[in-house]
Symmetry: C2
Subunit: 514 residues, 2 copies
């Protein structure tokens, strides 16, 4: 059917959405959320129909994603026909029913996600079904491969290519800012791409951005790595695995992450990594609660690595409290800089040199951890760090005190003596976010104590930094409510950790197909 | 934060969506799919944020749902603040984890769905989780009650109020068009609301629309029922259970229907029904495959009815083939009219009088089926039917031959002798839809044979009606591909019904919280 195009002068977040009024949709024979094929000159694409009651008849409204792609001008005539139901939807439904998907079925889903043939509703349902039913290792492999194939790749002419990744969940983890320069200082290639924070107070890309631009193109990354052996860039705009970015958008409001393994490993494969260490922070307040489940996950990473042609080892690390003391982009950048200059917290140094050490040993260097420690102590890692910052366009002479911190500050003190029994990672992260992190770079939290330390009445437990008074106040209120740090003279004095109202996991009851 | 409002001159399908550019969103401290509170003068509402890259800074784009509700003019200044995460999202997540929800939690979800505080992604995930984990009868009750409480209701001053509903799945089921006038002719009240087809070739509202308008207000329904004891209207615009309408929108592309029981029963409760018969068509090609599972479902309906204060009985009916011969709105309307005039297919008459008979007996009439049959034979039901049509604004003197049918017609013949072994409901429905039903009212399928009948080579199995040649041709192709009717001399000559490629239901593997 020929319809007049009405351009909506706005984007739809990458979605390809066509607006029709009810009558026009009826004539074409489509319902809201069905697909249409829109043809303009020799180009066409598939769009998802939204019905708008008072939209004019015989018009099709298109967002910029469609008008740009097809080169449609306002008022031009386009052909709009009903399109077949995407093949991927069959496999999404199979997954909802709990079936295991085959490689080619997974590939079709990923391709159609990237092509924007599937709606948010369908992707959300797929991700939820994956979360509830779980994924087989074959499905994980197929997803990873399809995600690499549908995205961009980085090609460097040297091997080995080293990389590290943390599955996250522990606040203040600025380890990558140390591992990259240590590895690069030893002459190995480490083209590190990182994400920005989505639900946490800071991602590695947010931290590095305090020093230099992180939004580099693949070309620019190649240049930086050629000059310095390493880089610390934001992976988000590189389209390394665009399907993953779309899945993450949908996962964010649901706070579920069933695609953890393919999400991480597809990006490692896309940058050509040959040797990868995956950091699995473990502890009751981390994503992985026990060493047993950390090991199970580690074997999945190692197995998946083998299937994708990568040498993978995992580091199970202590995740019961934040790494170092600082949480928030600028605060963490400052702490990382101090540490690479030799004056940082022990746990951060220890973690970074351990992980760098594993990487060294994977590529044949003996006594990897000692090697990492000596690169840190000798100042070689620091020089490399400044070289990478400079290559990415930052100031290589930056000092910790140059970094601007939130100028509003509040202190949380204790009203009794005691020993620190626990630090609630999630609550600390929430307080830092409430203070404005990661969007307000200078906001965050600085711990004044760590697990096991003795503290006296009136001592400061942690400080909150914010850029604005309103944020400081709401963060302070939240901190008082959450009480993220638990104190007691002896552990046995405080046996009741919390009360959980009874909930029953339900049995499956009769459901109908439709 | 004060932002200038830019009105998007278009609806967002009921959703409350606010557009921000990335920088403005950062300043407010929200991410795509977070919520903001928009305040204009003394009014405010919660909207879901969409980020559009090239949207101007310091503007907020609002669809008509928001501008109308808050009375915002283009260019006016509004206050946009981050809003708290909806409470309902906690319970959606609990359901994703497989927990059982409490009554007040269900209520919060339903309220926030109706208030449009939840996005399509979140609703899709909720519905998928309900489908996979199933619902307890307590959850079903809570959902039903919350859906009634958040919607409109019909109040009539007489009791008892009778009603019937089919769970659907069998094409050509025009039973309601007979049951309503039979019951009303006996002096009982039956204010029947029905849906339009979504995935089927015709819904009751589509069929009735051949005779008269079905889009009545609650006031108009009250008048029609006062005059005639009954009505046959579309329930879709009555907002009887608006949450259900939103759930159905999300369920449609996924083709799942976990809310079947609350969806049906909330609408019966909302019109004040006291005595309800639920028709459960049963058979291998119906939604319910076996009498055993039909009984299980029936007990859920009866139990739920009791919990909602309604007297419910269920009719388990033969669902192995379409009801009558005609499939498609106009074709079915014609067949229903012929039947109420005494010249229709036996199965349709038998089904309608059985269901009307159960209703009669539920309100104390003895020999209900005989009573229904005599009302049909005497012409009283026909007179009542015409009276209702007239009260709803249609032509009471309509004859079957007045109904316009698709003027393009094709016949599917058989190339061998045999007996009809099976009729595939789903394939027949697909062919009718491909021919244009339900949007093209005159399109559809007319069966020429029914189960068990003998047929000779060259005889017609079914006819396809369409309004357009293109539709006729694609329907014809689909019919040839699907072969919806199976013939054989004896059943044992055709033992292989189909081949199913092996699929394995997978075991749960390790998944992570986030």
């Amino acid at each position: 059917m020929k319809l007049q195009a009405r351009l909506l002068d706005i984007q739809a977040g990458g979605r390809r959405i066509a607006i029709l009024d009810d009558e026009t949709a009826s004539l074409i024979g489509v319902h809201s959320s069905d697909r249409v094929k829109i043809t303009h000159k020799d180009e066409h694409l598939i769009a998802i129909v939204n019905i708008a009651d008072n939209f004019p008849r015989n018009y099709v409204g298109v967002y910029q994603e469609i008008s740009t792609k097809l080169g449609i001008e306002n008022g031009e005539i386009v052909e709009v026909q009903p399109a077949e139901r995407p093949e991927a939807l069959n496999y999404v439904q199979a997954k909802i029913r709990g079936e295991r998907l085959r490689e080619n079925e997974v590939k079709v889903i990923v391709e159609e996600v990237v092509e924007r043939h599937l709606s948010d509703v369908e992707i959300a349902s797929f991700v939820t079904a994956l979360y509830i039913h779980g994924l087989s290792i074959d499905e994980i492999e197929a997803l990873s491969k399809a995600m690499v194939e549908t995205g961009g790749t980085l090609t460097l002419d040297k091997t080995p290519i080293l990389d590290k990744h943390s599955i996250g969940g522990v606040p203040g983890d600025k380890t990558s800012l140390l591992v990259v320069p240590i590895i690069a200082a030893a002459g190995f290639i480490i083209p590190k791409t990182s994400s920005r924070a989505v639900t946490s107070p800071a991602g590695t890309a947010d931290r590095v951005e305090t020093f230099c631009p992180v939004n580099l193109t693949l070309e620019e990354i190649r240049d930086v790595v050629k000059k310095t052996n390493g880089c610390m860039v934001w992976g988000g705009a590189l389209e390394l695995a665009p399907a993953d970015d779309i899945f993450i958008q949908v996962e964010y409001p649901l706070a579920i992450d069933p695609l953890l393994l393919p999400s991480i490993m597809s990006k490692k494969k896309a940058i050509g990594a040959t040797h990868v260490v995956i950091d699995i922070p473990t502890g009751s307040g981390a994503k992985v609660k026990t060493v047993g489940s950390a090991n199970a996950l580690a074997y999945d990473f190692i197995d998946l690595g083998k299937r994708l042609g990568m040498n993978v080892q995992c580091a199970v690390t202590f995740g019961e409290q934040p790494i170092g003391y600082a949480i928030g982009p600028a605060l963490e950048a400052q702490e990382a800089l101090s540490t690479i200059m030799g004056k940082g917290p022990v746990d951060l140094q220890e973690k970074a040199t351990s992980i760098a050490g594993i990487l060294f040993e994977m590529v044949g260097v003996e006594n990897g951890k000692q090697k990492a420690e000596s690169l840190l102590k000798s100042g070689k890692a620091e020089r490399k760090f400044r070289q990478i910052i400079e290559a990415q366009g930052g100031n290589p002479r930056i000092k910790p005190e140059d970094i601007k911190l939130g100028y509003k500050k509040a202190e949380i003190t204790t009203d009794k003596d005691g020993r620190v029994l626990w630090v609630n990672n999630r609550s600390i992260a929430q307080v830092a976010r409430e203070a404005g992190a990661p969007k307000e770079k200078a906001a965050g939290v600085v711990l004044k104590i760590k697990l096991g330390e003795h503290i006296e009445k009136g001592d400061v437990l942690f400080e909150i930094y914010a850029e604005r008074n309103t944020k400081l106040n709401t963060a302070l209120e939240l901190a008082k409510k959450l009480q993220p740090i638990g104190l007691s003279k002896k552990p046995e004095e405080r046996m009741l950790i919390g009360r959980v109202p009874t909930r029953v996991i339900q049995r499956k009851v009769f459901t109908l197909e439709r």
